[in-house]
């Protein structure tokens, strides 16, 4: 996989979240800073599935202590986290 930019990761995550958790929603209503965990859009089971997707899509390992709202509440934080993880692992 070629190294995706932060913007590419954001778009991929937006599509994934729309498909999985907000079927039928317009992409324009899901902003980079829309709260997802703290608003109840993604619940704990949803988070597990999303992390599973992220781990296989971006070939990174997400540790339990990293799975909190600081990294997984908003698309922009997820993209930064994924990007940093990939760079650290490169």
């Amino acid at each position: 996989m070629s190294d995706p930019s932060t913007d590419q990761i954001k778009e991929e995550m937006r599509q994934y979240i729309l498909n999985e958790f907000l079927p039928g929603e317009k992409a324009s209503n899901l902003h980079d800073d829309t709260p997802l965990r703290t608003s109840g859009i993604i619940d704990s089971v949803g988070l597990l599935r999303m992390i599973d997707f992220i781990e296989s899509r971006y070939t990174i390992q997400v540790d339990a202590h990293e799975a909190g709202v600081e990294n997984f509440d908003r698309i922009e934080d997820m993209a930064t986290f994924i990007r940093n993880k990939r760079q650290a692992g490169a």
């Binding site: 958790f21 907000l22 039928g24 929603e25 109840g40 859009i41 619940d43 597990l48 339990a64």
Partner: protein, 532 residues
């Protein structure tokens, strides 16, 4: 059916007997790792009881418990029971309006609440006392009335030992609120007798002893907790409380079960599925685990096969029963699961303290093998819903027995017992929780831009069911799906939030002007199969 006398006259007696026999053994381990012995637990419960009696609580009064699971909560439960009061456990993470509606419905006279729930607790007008748990000594949030006291103050109280002779098996022990079709939760009111008859049946089948280490995964407001709490403490075993946070994290939960060498596990199938899928179970030793019990929903065979492959040695049981009857039928699941099996396992035969009847709409028993409604009678069956007056239509009398309509459609297999077929009403199960779809509709109608709402559930191989909400809106600019999701997370418990929202100009109606649920159900099933 035999109504065998229970070994104890009251649930408190389980603890009191264990405190005498196993005083120095660990009774309960808190999610923070601290623990109490049987003697300590019994002593603290006596102090809680003394506090409640000093505050003027009377036998039969209700006491709310609104806090995350903890040793403090277990002490409070037994203290409440010792005072001959009934505990009302409520999900502390539920929306405040729902907590208030439950505590108001049964008019609690006291509340034990964590600091996060202090505000709602002190707003309950009937409560003479509010105990704040989880606060350090002397700490009190500003603005709270003098009725609020700290847990430490309660423990300084003189113990009170209620006279055993004054206890009655028919005293209400606890009230568990479940989703109600009109949007108001229903309080299933259960007596000591209801619980004792079930727990004593568990003793005869699961044969626990003081060397067992039980999981306590279900929160106290969920009926699965009755087995964990009372069976474990009856036998001098150790109960490991699993916090809500740990309970949702299969990776750390898998390590927790192994490192604490748990011997008995009890949860919904959803949790076992998560453990098998995400727990990375291969890296741990589960040789101590002897019993795996599950209840609350149908266990998809794919996931059951998965967990039994990871944990081959324990004995597996499927336990079935609505909150109103507690567990009333059970089936031992033979392992390994054959690779070609796709049908879910049966719910099995009635427990020895219950009797079952499968009847048609005229309440006439159906021939073996035919579908019918499952009715249950026996000492574990509840008396009624809190505050309900008049006859409960879910009951009928036959052969001098009182039979409760579970609402579940089953058929009898002569070899394996009852097979669960489904339901005819609008109640569904998700992650073991009961959901009345009408309850979700009531919440949606509170949204200012929604003029019509109808909710349907469709089967889903992975999730069990998916919940689809159809809405019509009052304005030209409808709320976004993000808005509706956020609205639901504030108005409803998380497990009730719809998976999808679908907009319609107006909802389809039948010729009698009722919402055409069959049409919506078909639309949803069609959209579901398209996305696969």
């Amino acid at each position: 059916m035999s109504e065998r006398p229970s070994s104890a006259a009251n649930l408190c007696e389980y603890l009191e007997t264990s405190a005498q026999r196993f005083g120095d053994r660990i009774a309960v381990v808190d999610p923070d790792g601290s623990s109490v012995t049987y003697r300590q637990l019994n002593d603290r419960a006596d102090r809680v009881s003394g506090f409640l009696l000093a505050r003027g609580l009377q036998p039969g009064d209700r006491v709310g418990l609104v806090q995350p699971k903890s040793v403090t909560g277990v002490c409070a439960i037994f203290g409440i029971l010792k005072a001959r009061c009934a505990y009302v456990p409520v999900d502390s993470s539920a929306p405040a309006a729902r907590i208030r509606s439950i505590l108001g419905n049964c008019q609690v006279r006291a509340v034990f609440a964590s600091p996060g729930c202090a505000e709602v607790a002190v707003s309950i007008e009937t409560a003479k006392a509010v105990v704040l748990t989880g606060t350090s000594t002397g700490q009190r949030s500003s603005g709270l009335p003098p009725s609020a006291v700290s847990w430490e103050k309660v423990l300084e109280h003189e113990p009170s030992r209620a006279l055993p002779a004054s206890r009655h098996r028919d005293d209400v022990a606890y009230i568990l609120y479940t989703s109600g079709s009109t949007g108001i939760p229903k309080g299933v009111t259960l007596t000591h007798e209801n619980a004792l008859s079930f727990v004593d049946w568990c003793t005869s089948v699961f044969n626990p002893d003081e060397h067992d280490r039980f999981s306590s995964h279900a929160p106290f407001h969920f009926d699965l907790s009755i087995l964990d709490l009372y069976l474990s403490l009856k036998h001098g075993s150790t109960l490991y409380l699993i916090s809500e946070e740990l309970g949702k994290n299969p990776g750390t939960m898998a390590a927790f079960i192994a490192s604490n060498q748990l011997t008995v596990w009890y949860s919904t199938p959803s949790i076992l599925s998560l453990l098998a899928e995400f727990g990375n179970l291969k890296q741990y030793d589960y040789s101590h685990l002897r019993l795996v019990l599950f209840a609350g929903e149908v266990f998809p065979v794919k996931h059951l096969r998965n967990i039994t492959a990871h944990w081959p040695s324990p004995v597996y049981f499927n336990l079935y029963g609505p909150t109103e009857t507690n567990v009333c039928t059970f089936a031992r699941i033979p392992t390994p699961i054959p690779p070609d099996r796709t049908q879910p396992y049966p719910i099995g035969w009635p427990c020895s303290h219950c009797a079952a009847l499968v009847v048609d709409d005229a309440k006439v028993p159906v021939p073996t093998g035919e579908e019918g409604l499952l009715y249950i009678s026996g000492p574990s069956v509840f008396k009624g819903y809190w505050g309900q007056t008049g006859d409960n239509p879910a009951f009928f009398e036959r052969d001098g027995q009182r039979w409760y309509n579970t609402g579940d459609v089953v058929k009898e297999d002569p070899a394996d017992g009852f097979i669960y077929v489904g339901r005819r009403d609008r109640m569904v199960k998700r992650r073991g929780y009961r959901i009345e779809l009408g309850d979700i509709e009531s919440a949606l109608y509170r949204h200012q831009q929604i003029s019509e709402a109808a909710v349907v559930a469709i089967p889903d191989a992975d999730a069990g069911v998916k919940i689809h909400a159809y809405v019509a809106t009052v304005r030209d600019s409808p709320p976004s799906i993000v808005d509706l999701k956020v609205f639901c997370s504030k108005a409803l418990p998380a497990y009730m939030s719809p998976d999808a929202f679908l907009f319609r100009d107006s909802l389809p109606r039948t010729s009698t002007d009722k919402v055409d649920y069959q049409k919506l159900q078909k639309d949803s099933a069609a959209s579901q199969s398209q996305t696969k």
